[in-house]
Every structure is written in structure tokens, then in C-alpha cells.
Assembly symmetry: C2
Homo-oligomer: 274 residues x 2
């Protein structure tokens, strides 16, 4: 695998969480980053359309909005509220100019995973008319099995691909995040299957540190861990993916660092390890 093109580097706003989105956008652009994925919290209190325009004025492509999902709940009223919030997210994506929403599908501790999976499928299906009207796609992101209790009952790419096959909509695909999926012996085959389904909508990179000190916020920057990033990018590109390589790092350690230096490190790590 060759070095990835800088033109395909995207950074998630949460990666540089201390920066407001306006700062992030101008800093990213100055560093040569070409894409941005916007987390919804970064839009709080802002005119979304104007924020989108401002980000694009910096020369950045808006790759996706993070995140929708969290469909399962014990009560129907809660599931209805979740759908309403997802429709709001779709409206936000449209206003922002983001073509895609990444879904963290949700799970309820103690509710059978099979039931949560049914509720996830029902929830996504219910959103499709709104997606079609808004011209916004959805990417099911399988989450690492360590989040199966409360964050997602979709924990392998096989499960996400199965859902894509069941839903049969050009508006539904998958997001492959190396952090969640790198361990899976079926990963190469399932990435190829996502490609055959024309469902490989997003590719997220970071790294897995040894030891990992926190289940949520101790991700590594690419090169700090053990994930075979070049190999997985090879599989993703062999499957026909030609979108952005998105850097999504939740890290208490990196958030505490100087964010300008960190951004330089992101660009360097991208070239050396992705």
C-alpha cells in the first residue's frame, strides 16, 4: 500500500474537541486537511446552514454528520422520541450540507440484543422516507463488542451488512471504523461484501493502544497502536471505496495537549501509518 493522498484526509471535530468548529475548520484547512466530519455538539447554538457555508468557504468538504441512532428503548414513547431526534439530525445534515449521517445504533442494558437489533432495523426503516426527501444517507457503524451493553447491538460488519441487505435502500450503508472492527477474522471478507453491496459509505481511522486505559476515551493516534491500518485501507480500497480517510480519535490525553501541535501530528501520522 502506498501513502494515502492528503486530499483524502478528513478530521472529525471531536478529534480536536477543545476547538470550536470555526477554529477547527480554519486550522484544518491551513494544515492541508480537505474534509471535516461534524459532530452535532459542535453545532450547538449556531446557525447550521451558515456554519456549513463557513466551513466550505475554508475549502473543506463536509463528509458526514455524527451521529444519529440510539434506536432501542424499552418503551415505545422513547423509541418514538429517538426517531424524532434522528429526523432532526437528518434536517441538520441537510442544512449543514452533509450527505451522510453516521449511526451509533444503540442498545439497552439488559434488553436482549436480538430485540435491540429488531428495533434498530425498524428505526432505520422508519427514517428512509425522510432520508430520501432530504437527500441524506445513513451509515450503520458497527461498534466494538465492548459497547454491546449500552451503545450498539451491532458489533460486527457482518451484522451491519445483513441489515443493509434487509433494508435494500441506496440510502443505507455502513461505516467501517478500524477501532471497532480490526480484531474480526471476517473483516476482509465483510469489507468486500460491503463493496459488492455498494454500501461502503465511510472509513474511520485511529489506533488501539496497549494497554488501553479507558473504554471510551483512550484511543490512539494512527501509529500509536497495533491496528494494521495499511492492510485494512487496502481492503477498503479494493472494495471500491474512494472517499475520505476520517481521523476519529477520542482521547483525554490528546485533548489535553496543544491542539496545534496535535494537528501537525495527525497530518504526519496520517501520511506514515494510514
Amino acid at each position: 500500500m502506498s501513502t494515502p493522498a492528503l486530499e483524502r484526509l478528513c478530521v472529525h471535530t471531536i478529534t480536536t474537541r477543545p476547538w470550536p468548529i470555526e477554529t477547527a475548520a480554519s486550522k484544518y484547512a491551513a494544515a492541508g486537511v480537505k474534509g471535516i466530519t461534524v459532530w452535532r455538539d459542535a453545532l450547538a447554538g449556531r446557525d447550521i446552514a451558515r456554519t456549513g457555508a463557513r466551513v466550505r468557504d475554508e475549502g473543506l468538504s463536509i463528509v458526514s454528520l455524527c451521529r444519529g441512532g440510539f434506536f432501542p428503548a424499552r418503551a415505545q414513547a422513547e423509541r418514538t422520541r429517538a426517531l424524532d431526534d434522528n429526523r432532526l439530525a437528518i434536517d441538520e445534515a441537510r442544512a449543514l450540507g452533509a450527505p451522510l449521517i453516521v449511526l451509533v445504533c444503540g442498545a439497552v442494558p439488559g434488553q436482549p440484543l436480538s430485540e435491540s437489533r429488531r428495533q434498530i432495523l425498524d428505526g432505520i426503516a422508519a427514517l428512509l422516507p425522510h432520508c430520501e426527501a432530504a437527500g441524506v444517507k445513513l451509515a450503520i457503524e458497527p461498534l466494538h463488542p465492548m459497547y454491546a451493553d449500552s451503545r450498539s447491538a451491532v458489533n460486527t460488519l457482518a451484522q451491519a451488512n445483513d441489515m443493509v441487505e434487509t433494508l435494500r435502500s441506496p440510502h443505507v450503508g455502513v461505516a467501517v471504523d478500524v477501532y471497532h472492527l480490526w480484531w474480526d477474522p471476517a473483516l476482509e471478507n465483510e469489507i468486500a461484501r460491503s463493496g459488492r453491496l455498494r454500501a461502503l459509505f465511510a472509513y474511520h481511522v485511529c489506533d488501539w493502544r496497549t494497554p488501553t486505559l479507558d473504554l471510551l476515551n483512550d484511543r490512539g493516534l494512527m501509529g500509536e497502536g497495533c491496528i494494521p491500518l495499511r492492510q485494512i485501507r487496502g481492503w477498503v480500497e479494493a472494495a471500491g471505496f474512494d472517499g475520505f480517510n476520517e481521523v476519529e480519535v477520542f482521547s483525554t490525553r490528546w485533548w489535553a495537549a496543544d491542539q496545534d501541535q496535535y494537528l501537525q501530528q495527525i497530518v504526519q501520522s496520517y501520511g506514515e501509518h494510514v
Copy 2:
């Protein structure tokens, strides 16, 4: 599913880590526990055969010795040392009177998982003559994918069953631990497959807490989390398993508690949730 028989309750020495094995054995027996799985650290500095006899004199069955494994390494010399240590563990199990060794198979950060899996298969195969001579069996324990970096490249029961099929020895089976496997959509089918292979050698229980605060030492006691314990025991028993239900809890929180009260709580949780 009915309440499990108290006669099938086994506790791992590490569950009550503050107690020396002699204390653990007498306390377990007094509480009605019938089985004990011995961690190797509990044997440090002791005559192993005499310790085994003492434990049995309390009326306890020795269910297994934890743990062997950690086969992968970058250098051949290290892999050879790992085999030597596993042969020592087999000798210890024989001296103790434990019919089974649980294998945490190992992984090397940054070494391809496929290579680690090959080294694991080679390692187990190399031990088989020693197992046969000693009359000691080995149980491959798939570990949760969050341990794929450094503890085990075997992360699903399907992978462990595949290895059992490849090795084709009555001395090699699997250990099903709910903590590692509860999230897997293939679990029911793979437990049935272990049964067909006559390879279901051990069943370990605890629970998954929400939130989980530490990747290693924040396991829950049964009932403190979201694992469908009764359902999984149903699958295990439907597969023909009639051995012990082994309580294996690593918990900084519980280790800091009064161990006598904790043991009472273990017995109660076993009856109510396993």
C-alpha cells in the same frame, strides 16, 4: 431455566484474591461451594500435591488450573519458553489433581492476528503428547475482542471451535466464559457446535457492568450486569454440558470488600441469576 444446583457451583481462587488458597478452600466448603478452580499464583511457594490433597480434604473438586497459553511471540526462543512453561503447568495440574488447564492463548501487539493464531495452533499441537502422558486436558478460552491486542488472538467461540476441529484431539476443547462471548450473535450456534464436538470443557460466569470502568478488573457479580445468564446456561446445558458453573470475577471493587460477606453474596447471586 431452573435454579442451578448448588452442587455445581465452583469458585475461582482469583475471585476471592485476598484469601490464600487454604483459607479459600475451607471458606468455600463451609459455604456449600463444591468446586474450586485454582489460579497458578495461588500455588506459589507451596507443595502442589499436598495443596491439592488439602483442598480435596475440604470436600472440594478441583475443576481446573488457570492458566496456560500465551503461545505467540516474535522470537522462536520466546515461543519455546512459552511451551516449557505450559509443560510445567501441565505437570502442576497433574500434581494438583486438576483434570483441565484453561488456555489464555496470547497475542503480540502489532503482530498480525493471523500469525498469532498460527502460533497458537502450533503451540497447542506441540503440547499434546505431554497432555496425553499426564492425563490433563486443555480448554481454549476465547477472550473478548478488547483483549485481541495483547492477551488472545482467539476472540470468538467459532475460532476456538475451528481450532478444536483442526487439532482433533480428545484432550483439546473450549472454555465458554460469558464475559467474553455474551455479545456474539453466533453464540448459541457455536455452543451447540462445541457440544457436537464433545469439546465443551468448562463454563465460566460473571456479569458485564454498565458502565465498565476498567478493561480488566471491573467485572460484575452475576446479576450486576446485562448478560443473559440463564439463557446462556440453557444453551450450554442443551449442548450436553453437565460440569461446574464456575464463578470467575476480577473486581478491584469486590476484592476490597469483606470476603466472607462477598462469598455469601456469590452463593446468593449464583442461585438467583446463573
